[in-house]
């Protein structure tokens, strides 16, 4: 949903071209009604709807009764807007203008993820393009060769790899890996991520990267193309 009819129309045309069924609305109130009635798989929500309730508020209200993945759109590219969107319960955000291909890719990633989280049986292994994380034995192999990680590095890698595509905030990473009492020590995460990257032999010059930095927010585990 977006308050600009032209953008609404373009998105609808584009997404239908990828084979999705699209329902559009132009204001927050009708969006809430539409979600309740249509039960969509993904919601794409503009942050500034120009009317009340705005996108963030709609997102917050949706989260009180719906777990449907939400991608928020905004023309503002500052960290605060993104953090606000994530805090309001959004799963992802995109800055306008963006390419349809990227939006489609994000939707796919989110849908994959929601399928994965629906499975309740825990997996014993995480396999991502050359990397195999053996959760039972806490062993990591890269292209068949074992890579040694310290316990903290392993925990950090695991936490990120278990949620591919999702931004995990610095705060969450610190809390889950280091425990409580490390607030404000975000640079620990950076140092460890740097080490993990070296061990995974990332090559950013060829865009071979597993861990992507989201400035001011956190990290996201991705599968290199």
């Amino acid at each position: 949903m977006d308050d600009e009819p032209q953008i609404r129309k373009l998105l609808q045309t584009g997404l239908e071209g990828y084979g999705y069924q699209v329902v559009t609305t132009g204001d927050g109130q009708s969006a809430l009604v539409a979600v309740a009635q249509q039960q969509p798989d993904v919601i794409i929500l503009d942050i500034a709807l120009g009317s009340s309730p705005d996108g963030l508020e709609v997102c917050r209200r949706l989260r009180t009764w719906s777990k449907t993945p939400i991608i928020m759109l905004s023309v503002r590219n500052d960290e605060k807007t993104k953090v606000n969107a994530l805090n309001a319960g959004a799963d992802d955000y995109m800055t306008k203008p963006f390419g349809m291909e990227e939006l489609q890719a994000r939707i796919q990633a989110i849908l994959r993820r929601s399928v994965v989280t629906d499975q309740t049986t825990p997996t014993a292994e995480i396999c991502i393009k050359g990397i195999v994380i053996d959760l039972a034995n806490r062993r990591v192999t890269l292209e068949g060769e074992e890579v040694h990680f310290t316990p903290k590095e392993y925990d950090l890698l695991c936490l990120l790899a278990k949620h591919p595509g999702t931004v995990i905030t610095h705060g969450t990473l610190l809390n889950k890996v280091w425990g409580a009492g490390y607030e404000g020590m975000e640079h620990y995460v950076r140092v460890f991520v740097n080490q993990i990257r070296r061990k995974l032999k990332e090559n950013p010059a060829r865009d071979i990267r597993y861990i992507i930095s989201e400035p001011g927010i956190g990290y996201r585990f991705v599968e290199p193309e």
Binding site: D78, R190, V191, N194, R198, A205, D207, I212, S213
Partner: protein, 455 residues
């Protein structure tokens, strides 16, 4: 009240003491001795306690002189007429010297008080002179009134307030210059203020008002300076908008209208070209709008730095990956020591600065070589060098290319480098150009390491 009672008590005590002493020595001393000793007592009382107690002492001493020391003893009757003369002269002398002494005493006290007041005013003026914000003016005023005038409490009320005049200990003074009123200072004293105290407080208050006006004027001047700067920028901005933004707009517009009118007749490859042109020009336009916004924010000083300890190598990685995504070729070599320390900076902003520098460097990088991003720690700063192997930049142009809207021979809007420079300088860092030893330009930016301690 109690204080003045005590004064009279002391005065009486001294008179009686003197009497007791003289009574003991009455056989050795003459009447002249008695009156001199009594005069001394009156003088001392006058100097320490003022006129009224001294007159009081004169009277008591006169009576006890008469009663205890002048024959016949223990009556107020005086036998010898010469003694009567002595007594009368004594009383007159005592009254007169007492008056004179206490007058001198009052003079001294006034002079001291005036000196003290001058001192306070001088201190206040010195303290006020150094202030540059109104908040500290109020703080300093409060401090002076507390410390030097023993004021119990001060409070600044809005210029238009309903004033209740309850209590004699309160004083409401306007903080005003001419017709302009900054507020009302309400002072609460520990007891009703004397006129001297009131005068002093109001002088301090009007001094504070003068300083408030000075600060306000300074703000106005600063404001008009930045307005002038903003105006200059706006002119440059308009210039850039009319020249540089129109080109991509024209391409988009022409391609779109071609497509809508000639759609069926155009061969598919041409159609695709036009579509790609629209997409890439839109990206170009988006980028320019972003640049214009950034530069105006930088120039207005409205940039907010969300600093944290970050890895410069991570930033370099992001830039390199983005280049790969856009070009699909490996054009960048990253070279950082494995133990490079983290540096305090705003990740998003430095990412932007580095991408601008890299983008600029790649524009001149020969297709058969690669741009290097190298990091190192030198002394108290972290340095990142962006090394390209294209043409060198003449020394005369090195500073110019980092000015906003500098049009280089390539005809670019020339905002990228200015933005990078602005961002780096906002981090207390530096950006400069050197020659690459083997030919080409090396842009180096530095960020201070000292900020790490403050985190």
């Amino acid at each position: 009240m109690i204080l003045s009672l005590r004064r009279y008590g002391f005065a009486a005590l001294m008179a009686f003491g003197a009497t007791l002493l003289l009574w003991g020595l009455r056989d050795v001393l003459t009447t002249a001795n008695f009156s001199l000793v009594y005069l001394l007592v009156v003088l001392v009382v006058a100097v320490y306690y003022g006129t009224a107690p001294s007159l009081f002492t004169a009277l008591i001493s006169f009576l006890s002189f008469n009663f205890f020391l002048v024959k016949p003893l223990y009556t107020f009757f005086v036998a010898d007429p010469r003694d009567v003369l002595d007594l009368v002269i004594y009383l007159a002398c005592a009254a007169l010297t007492g008056q004179l002494a206490s007058y001198a005493r009052n003079q001294r006290r006034d002079a001291e008080q005036r000196a003290n007041e001058l001192n306070i005013l001088y201190e206040a003026a010195a303290a006020f002179n150094q202030l540059t914000d109104s908040e500290s003016v109020y703080r300093t005023l409060d401090h002076i009134l507390h410390e030097r005038l023993s004021v119990l409490h001060t409070e600044v009320l809005p210029p238009i307030s309903l004033l209740d005049t309850d209590g004699q200990n309160r004083l409401n003074l306007p903080l005003s210059i001419g017709a302009h009123r900054y507020g009302i200072l309400r002072i609460t004293f520990t007891r009703p203020p004397t006129s001297a105290l009131t005068r002093l407080a109001s002088i301090c208050t009007s001094q504070a008002a003068t300083v408030l006006q000075r600060i306000e004027l300074a703000h106005h001047i600063q404001e008009s300076e930045s307005l002038k700067e903003a105006d200059r920028l706006k002119t440059a901005l308009l210039h850039a908008v009319s020249h540089d933004l129109r080109t991509p707009l024209t391409i988009i517009k022409t391609s779109a209208s071609n497509l809508s009118r000639l759609d069926s007749t155009l061969p598919p490859p041409d159609r695709l070209d036009m579509l790609h042109a629209i997409e890439s020009e839109a990206d170009h336009l988006n980028k320019m709008v972003g640049n214009l916004l950034d530069i105006s924010r930088l120039q207005a000083g409205a940039l907010q730095i969300n600093g944290a300890l970050n890895s410069l190598e991570e930033v370099a990685g992001d830039v390199a990956a983005r280049t790969w995504q856009v070009t699909g070729t490996e054009r960048i070599v990253i070279n950082f020591p494995p133990d490079m320390t983290l540096v305090y900076f705003d990740y998003g902003l430095v990412l932007q600065a580095l991408s601008n520098l890299v983008e600029n460097g790649l524009r001149y990088e020969p297709s058969d070589s690669r741009l290097t991003i190298a990091g190192k720690i030198i002394g108290h700063e972290a340095q990142v060098a962006i090394v390209n192997h294209g043409p060198s930049i003449p020394a005369a142009e090195r500073d110019l290319i980092m000015e906003p809207f500098y049009h280089s021979a390539g005809g670019n809007t020339g905002l990228g480098l200015a933005i990078a420079k602005g961002i780096i300088e906002a981090h207390q860092g530096r950006l400069w150009v050197e020659d690459t030893p083997s030919g080409g330009a090396t842009f180096i930016f530095s960020l201070p390491l000292t900020n790490m301690d403050t985190e």
